[in-house]
């Protein structure tokens, strides 16, 4: 699985049960969106997410990925909300239709800190969790084995499809397909790429579904797993505690406590 961000290492974060990490990620995202105070979101990033990345040895990857994924969004956000915030009253500077307002910048800070927490938290989960193991442990917690089949096999076939798409593209270019020119021409160039890809997909599906049926995929009996993921009691308690905190923050937020 070369498509995923997972880095196979040995660390305390890697050893955690994948479900625990998933619950932690979801709880943090919910708390950040419920509390809506920018320094809470940044505090969680600095004191929870970043230490987890450093302990797991994925800090460098996290930094480069977040520069690539997060920085463009944050720049657009600051420019957009900093310059164009008609609701703002405290004007710092004015350039024609664009006005830099304190309210706009504060708004950008609030939204930006939440997006940062959302993206960084998900990235730490993805960097430290083997997708196959995550699917196995979710299945053991009651998720449909069909769901884990779909997700795991998609992750496996994406590289094959990328190679296939590249070779179709090269073959069509060798036959005279032009990928440059005006946008309309480039859109039209997609069709000779997509139709062979989809036709190939149908043959794939036929073989796969026959193989799956032959192995009792749709059997209603309980499926057993080859890998049993450890789930110590401490992590179970931690998961329930995190979920309870997240729920409490949502309730408090709806009651208007964080205003």
């Amino acid at each position: 699985m070369t498509t995923t961000l997972y880095e196979d290492r040995e660390s305390a974060v890697h050893r955690l049960n994948p479900v625990t990490k998933l619950v932690a990620m979801l709880s943090i995202i919910i708390i950040v969106f419920a509390v809506q105070i920018w320094w809470v979101a940044l505090g969680i990033v600095v004191f929870v997410v970043m230490p987890a990345a450093v302990i797991s040895g994925t800090g460098g990857r996290l930094l480069s990925l977040s520069l690539k994924l997060l920085l463009p969004i944050l720049i657009v956000l600051v420019l957009l909300q900093g310059l164009f915030f008609p609701e703002g009253t405290t004007v710092l500077a004015e350039f024609g239709p664009a006005r830099v307002t304190v309210e706009g910048l504060m708004f950008a800070l609030g939204i930006g800190s939440r997006i940062a927490a959302l993206v960084l938290c998900s990235l730490v989960l993805l960097l430290t969790t083997d997708p196959a193991l995550l699917m196995t442990s979710l299945t053991q917690k009651g998720m449909s084995p069909k769901m884990s089949y779909v997700i795991s096999s998609t992750l496996q076939i994406i590289p094959a499809f990328q190679t296939r798409a590249q070779s179709i593209l090269l073959a069509q270019q060798a036959r005279g397909l032009r990928l440059k020119g005006n946008p309309l021409r480039r859109v039209a160039a997609v069709l000779p790429l997509v139709s062979p890809l989809v036709l190939g997909m149908f043959t794939d599906v036929e073989e796969r579904s026959t193989a799956m049926e032959a192995r009792g995929f749709s059997s209603p009996a309980t499926h057993t797993s080859f890998v049993v993921v450890e789930d110590p009691l401490g992590q179970k308690i931690a998961r329930w505690a995190l979920a309870a905190i997240a729920l409490a923050s949502v309730v408090l937020s709806l009651l208007g406590v964080f205003k």
Binding site: I73, L77, L123, M147, D204, V205
Partner: protein, 302 residues
């Protein structure tokens, strides 16, 4: 699918409940975000809008995905991963070619049309999950849009929008408008309008003339989504008409709702006539050519 076992029957009810609650949660979330916001937004504070947006949309999508997956037969389940791969690979190529459209829902729409709204919804939801796992977690909050696209593609097929070549782009236009409306609260309340470089500039232009953030992201969505979906639906209908009818009629949904009609081969420019014209086997092959055999009145499968 075996329905004779009692646990399966019990699960069926549970799955329907999941899908129904999921749909209600999504609709309620959307209505709250659209109707409940303008007053609070004047202070530049969203109140609970971003919380409601992320929880409501994610919960609804998860419920629908969990409720639909059990109903699907193995052939459909086998189709979903490759459809997701098509979504992601073509979407990446469209981005790398610098196309003005996304083209990241071809697989979702194909599955919706061939296997029904439930399968389309599942493909859409899981596409964004996988996109979030492999390319960028930013895709995750938008999963609900993909669910809606898959469902609408399924109903378009069911209502006969793929029986005529020229009806598919109309279905695409409607899907695009709905997709823009559903995704604009996500862009506004979760991302503050900053979802990508070019989109941000368009939102800024609408903001500069005094629109609210939600209105600006809605206008931005309406500028890009309907065009994208019209082109995507057109590509899908061209591909589907080029497929031999025995491929298409393998899907129970296609047979049950007569998705392509009996006359579909007349209405569309298929590849088959060209092949027949080029080859030397035109008068003799009455059984070999698929498109011809379905023309002669016999329905492909019972």
């Amino acid at each position: 699918m075996s329905t004779s076992h009692t646990p399966v029957e019990a699960n069926k009810v549970r799955n329907r409940v999941f899908v129904a609650i999921g749909a209600v949660v999504i609709i309620a979330t959307y209505l709250y975000l659209i109707l409940g916001q303008p007053s609070e937004f004047a202070e530049g504070d969203f109140g609970q809008a971003s919380l409601i947006a992320i929880i409501g949309y994610l919960l609804g999508s998860v419920l629908i995905a969990a409720g639909t997956i059990h109903r699907l037969p193995t052939t459909t389940i086998a189709l979903v991963p490759v459809a997701i791969a098509v979504n992601i690979v073509v979407g990446q190529i469209a981005a790398s070619l610098g196309l003005p459209i996304y083209l990241d829902s071809i697989g979702t729409i194909l599955v919706g049309v061939l296997a029904g709204p439930a399968a389309g919804a599942l493909t859409g939801a899981l596409t964004n999950v996988i996109w979030g796992m492999t390319i960028s977690p930013i895709a995750l909050p938008f999963a609900v849009t993909a669910v809606v696209i898959g469902v609408l593609a399924g109903y378009a097929g069911r209502l006969g929008m793929f029986r005529r070549f020229y009806l598919a782009p109309i279905a695409g236009l409607i899907t695009g408008i709905v997709a823009a409306l559903v995704s604009s609260p996500i862009a506004a309340f979760i991302f503050g309008g900053a979802t990508g470089g070019g989109n941000g500039a368009i939102v800024a232009a609408f903001r500069a003339v005094g629109n609210s953030l939600l209105a600006s992201t809605t206008f931005q969505g309406l500028l890009s989504d309907p065009l994208d979906k019209v082109i995507t639906f057109t590509i899908v209908v061209i591909i589907l008409y080029a497929l031999p009818s025995r491929f298409r009629s393998r899907f129970p949904f296609v047979r049950e709702y007569n998705v392509f009609g009996k006359q579909s081969e007349h209405a569309a420019p298929t590849r088959a006539p060209r092949r027949a014209a080029g080859g030397s086997d035109s008068p003799a092959s009455t059984t070999g050519d698929d498109s011809r055999s379905s023309d002669s009145g016999t329905t492909p499968t019972s």
